[in-house]
Amino acid sequence: MKTYTNTGNKDTRSGFGAGLAQLGKSNENVVALCADLTGSLKMNAFADAHPDRFFQVGIAEANMMSIAAGMTIGGKIPFTGTFANFSTGRVYDQIRQSIAYSDKNVKICASHSGLTLGEDGATHQILEDIGLMKMLPGMTVINTCDYNQTKAATLAIADYHGPVYLRFGRPKVANFTPDNDVFEIGKAVQLQEGTDVTIVATGHLVWEALEAAKELNEKGISAEVINIHTIKPLDEEAIIKSVKKTGCIVTAEEHNYLGGLGESVARTLAQHIPTPQEFVATQDTFGESGTPAQLLEKYGLNAENIAAKAEKVIKRKK
């Protein structure tokens, strides 16, 4: 079993900020827009170094999204920054018409996604954004797992032409993927090889999946762990290949089970290789105030529940 080392807790949003700052130096076409959350999104380094390419839009997200669409005309690559809730639900029609339908090269960068936004509560904790974004034709949907991967993804999406939704979060979490890893959009990353059950996870729950695999290993259960950082386009081949070996699957995400990674996986399996599946996700509820750790525990988005669901799904195998 591979061992992964947490090199120190870091927030994924800082990975975004570091990636954006690097892009500022390496790609003169990159411009950034923010709706009064520059500090929260860690966009200060870019804003300070490139004031001519940074646009403070104020608390006006609809305007920001459509300005970003317009800025692509003339060759700029706009990165928008605000919370996930205000990056999606609040501006769905702007994204739909001016960005997705118009095929504009806008990178929608969304922090504070999911329950781990914490104490601000359900008004800000969007658990529906993956679903909203993956339903838009042509939209690429990425949910990164740690600081290093978020930085790598930020760099990678600048080189990809087309609209992208990049989802990351607020809290400091384990940083365990390699520094300076190349991020391949749409390519699943196998983290553990196993034979009894497949666990596919996205975002903050990837580390929890690795912890779950350790617990399962102690019980003599061999879990394969796959990091699905790109929910759309989904690496169907990697998932099908894994369940052919293991015969069952658990999906884990910080999102509603309706519309999230789990549903995309279920659709893939139903079409190609019907397989018992269990879902670690919120159960069609809103969130609430609390610390990130308390919320993940209360809503079952942690290693313990992933391991429990793995044991449950193994029993469903025929």
Partner: protein
Amino acid sequence: MRLLTNFYKMADIQQLKGLVSQVRRDIVRQVHAVNSGHPGGSLGCTEFIVALYNEIMEHDPSFNMDGKNEDLFFLSNGHISPVFYSVLARAGYFPVEELNTFRKLNSRLQGHPTTHEGLPGVRIASGSLGQGMSVGIGAALTKKVNGDDKTIFTLHGDGELQEGQNWEAIMYASANHVDNLIATIDVNGQQIDGSTDTVLALGDLRKKFEAFGWEVVTVAKGNDMESVISGIKEAISLSRKRKPICILLHTVMGHGVDFMMGSHEWHGIAPNDEQLAEALKQNPETLGDY
């Protein structure tokens, strides 16, 4: 680059007026053929869009999405697609015969303009209202970053100003000195459910734009070609002075077809055979129907 400036540009007002008549014929024929579409606002904005593409803007009908070193136009009130399509076709962006495909299956001329089918001349989808001013601001900002000194023109319905996003954009443009943007409001006082005054009164638009820090040019006769051209030229003379420019273009919905004029009833319905014949009779001058 092929620019209209010295090549296609209409030499005199009479030629422009002839084109206006042809565009009006194209509008009513497009809408009649599929028994759907929006003739009222299209007819009302005909002089303005004909003037932009044939007298004012430097633009390249061979079409490149980035539009560098060209003046660009964004139609925010996308439902007046019939006038936009006719003017684009007559300017050489695509074959005039393609107007035959308006709103039909497998057409590039969708009900509302879109980039999705690759129609030359269209740079953004519009139809869901209120987004075009923000898009225009974005394109204007990119021109500034790129050191491109050309101008962004946008067109909006007056009823469209009821969408709140416009006011976000109006606030942003003045606060950030987007002075290479000329946003025109088609003030025809009509919207689907009735007059703008009865549906949701817009108040004094000049005072509102001025209070938001814009320069405002009023064109009282928005269906008079000379007035339209001089109004746009005045707006251009006011640009690049650290303020965005608004043209309040007073038009008559349905202008040029007497039974459609001034009534919200013709916002989104098509003429029947007899009404089409009458509309064409009232706009006899033609460069050749498609």
